[in-house]
């Protein structure tokens, strides 16, 4: 029983990380329909921005994190501006955008690997490393912060989308791009904003992981794919769904270890994913992905 509780707790923490990646990725995918695997590179970059800010520029931790989040937002925005929008101007198919995104992911990850080596780069997190013991469950302040940040990030995003004018513009483009265009919304600008916001949400996830186990160049690939699984399970176009999907995946992976050897973790997640799309392709809350207007 103790083990189950521990696994649940760890699952919640990991799930929070996946959820942050998922809501960011889901926002981008739902609005631009780009299968932005390079989100994984932004995730990784965020960690390294924080690392460099703290270790090389000697900024205090909080400032380093803020710099990293801004850096990530800028990175995501630039990826759209310099890559995707340029390709779209040349009439690229969606598959071409995905291939370019994949190429960018590989390129960035490996550049990081050459510059920083593939070994994990550890950061100083001081007090956050302190253990917290709740009954049989062992966590650190960092882990608790992770869950809190995921909730904060989610709430912030929902408020932004519902209340602010830009948020509403994003929602308009997300549900009916052609109509949004006719009422005068600049799609390109909204896309850039979406990328900035979505990437800013991935940043804390990347940074938190780096603070826990060190920054690694290749971790992003796994996170972005799991994020996309979470989004699909939660329902494309639904931020609450993505949140739920991410948390669900985290719990699933960790509870899976209870009965099955840990090497099979990913296999479990993907297996569940396949079953899920057979039984409920729309996901928890999604709109029908029939997509195109007829």
């Amino acid at each position: 029983m103790d083990l189950v509780l521990q696994l649940l707790a760890t699952g919640l923490v990991v799930g929070s990380l996946y959820a942050l990646c998922a809501i960011g990725w889901g926002l981008i995918y739902g609005t631009t329909l780009h299968f932005h695997v390079a989100h994984g590179a932004v995730f990784a970059l965020a960690a390294y921005y924080a690392y460099v800010a703290q270790k090389l520029l000697h900024l205090p931790l909080i400032l380093a994190v803020l710099v990293a989040i801004l850096g990530a937002a800028a990175s995501g925005l630039l990826i759209d501006l310099l890559l995707y929008q340029q390709l779209e101007r040349r009439g690229a198919f969606r598959t071409s955008i995905f291939i370019a995104s994949l190429g960018l992911l590989i390129l960035l990850e490996n550049v990081i690997a050459i510059v920083f080596t593939p070994d994990p780069m550890r950061m100083d997190i001081g007090a956050l490393n302190t253990a917290v013991i709740i009954g049989p469950v062992f966590l650190t302040y960092l882990h608790i912060l992770t869950v809190v940040l995921a909730l904060v990030g989610y709430a912030a995003l929902m408020v932004f989308l519902k209340r602010s004018r830009w948020g509403q513009a994003i929602r308009a483009v997300s549900s009916a791009p052609e109509m949004a265009r006719t009422v005068g919304i600049d799609l390109d600008r909204v896309h850039l904003l979406t990328y900035a916001v979505g990437s800013a949400l991935a940043a804390p996830a990347g940074i938190l992981v780096a603070m826990d186990v060190g920054a690694e160049p290749f971790r992003g690939t796994r996170f972005v794919l799991l994020a996309s699984v979470g989004v699909i399970m939660g329902g494309i176009g639904s931020i609450p769904g993505a949140m739920l999907g991410g948390v669900f995946l985290g719990l699933l992976e960790n509870l899976g270890i209870w009965k099955l050897p840990s090497e099979w973790q990913s296999a479990i997640s993907f297996g569940v994913f396949l079953v899920f799309i057979v039984l409920r392709p729309r996901g928890f809350f999604g709109r029908t992905i029939h997509g195109a207007e007829i």
Partner: protein, 293 residues
């Protein structure tokens, strides 16, 4: 030196089969799969195990490989293609991850990281193929066969339907095409052929282990397809010729190993991006047709 070139040509043959079969999916049908290395691996392991545990020869192994590869792909394709193409990207990634996990962890079957040594050489009409030169013939012959199969497929009404589905699947459905069935069919065929390449590889190197079938490998195969051109069937062959020569060229520059591997990946990544800009159809592809006027 001659043996070295022979080895290069054998690998070109194997990768041509891999890239041609992936091209059927990515280039011709617009379905993106990240699992081709896993399929390659399934073919290799299936064929190797058929030989080692069941005593089947190379040809029997080929058949087993193709069937198992097709089955694995169908299992993933059927649920995910019914819904939307993007689901297949994620599902194929999942397949890649799961299959690799199986290779590494199902040790009783696959020997895990230690791999499977001692895979027997093929026999063709009583002649054992045991040196690189003979293997070049076998490899290129199978590559040619794959090419002919794909030629037949793409030049037919089926091929026409594939192109229509790729360009506008809603119009295809309205015109009476069973889009999902078509997609599942091509995915299965593509995988059967990819698995075939695995079988060829296993009996050539006579030793296989999981490191040959990772996600990086899937990306490499994708680069071959993109570089060579997605609309021309001979494209993957050219892509293989060029990209397989690159690691050798890098060796000449005396780059330390730790940097060489990521450098290659950077090259492939850059290639993918570059080609999406310059020519989404690749080197040999048909250029976007301009107005006849």
């Amino acid at each position: 030196m001659a043996a070295y070139i022979a080895h290069y040509l054998v690998m070109v043959g194997i990768y041509t089969i891999l890239a041609t079969s992936l091209n059927l999916l990515v280039g011709y049908s617009g379905i993106f799969s990240l699992a081709h290395a896993a399929i390659y691996g399934i073919g290799a392991y299936a064929s190797a195990l058929a030989a080692l545990k069941l005593g089947l020869g190379f040809w029997g192994g080929l058949v087993v490989a193709a069937m198992v590869g097709a089955l694995a792909a169908a299992l993933v394709a059927i649920p995910s293609l019914r819904v939307a193409g993007d689901y297949y990207i994620v599902a194929s990634f999942g397949l890649q991850v799961v299959i690799l996990t199986v290779f590494i962890n199902w040790t009783s079957f696959t020997n895990g990281h230690a791999g499977l040594p001692g895979i027997p050489r093929p026999y063709v009409l009583g002649l054992v193929i045991d040196d690189p030169f003979k293997y070049v013939v076998l490899s290129l012959a199978l590559a040619a066969l794959t090419y002919l199969i794909c030629l037949r497929l793409t030049g037919s009404a089926f091929g026409r339907t594939l192109r229509a589905v790729r360009e506008d699947e809603i119009a295809a459905a309205a015109t009476g095409k069973n889009v999902v069935a078509v997609k599942i069919t091509i995915t299965t065929i593509s995988s059967a052929l990819g698995a075939l390449a695995g079988s060829l590889y296993a009996h050539y190197i006579t030793y296989i282990n999981p490191t040959s079938f990772t996600l990086d490998e899937s990306i490499f195969i994708t680069s071959l397809v993109i570089l060579g051109g997605t609309e021309r069937l001979a494209g993957p062959f050219v892509g293989a010729l060029i990209l397989l020569a690159v690691p050798e060229a890098l060796k000449f520059l005396a780059i330390p190993d730790t940097v060489a591997a990521p450098m290659r990946q950077i090259l492939y990544g850059a290639l993918l991006i570059l080609f999406m800009f310059v020519r989404p159809e690749g080197i040999l592809g048909r250029p976007r047709p301009r107005s006849v006027a």
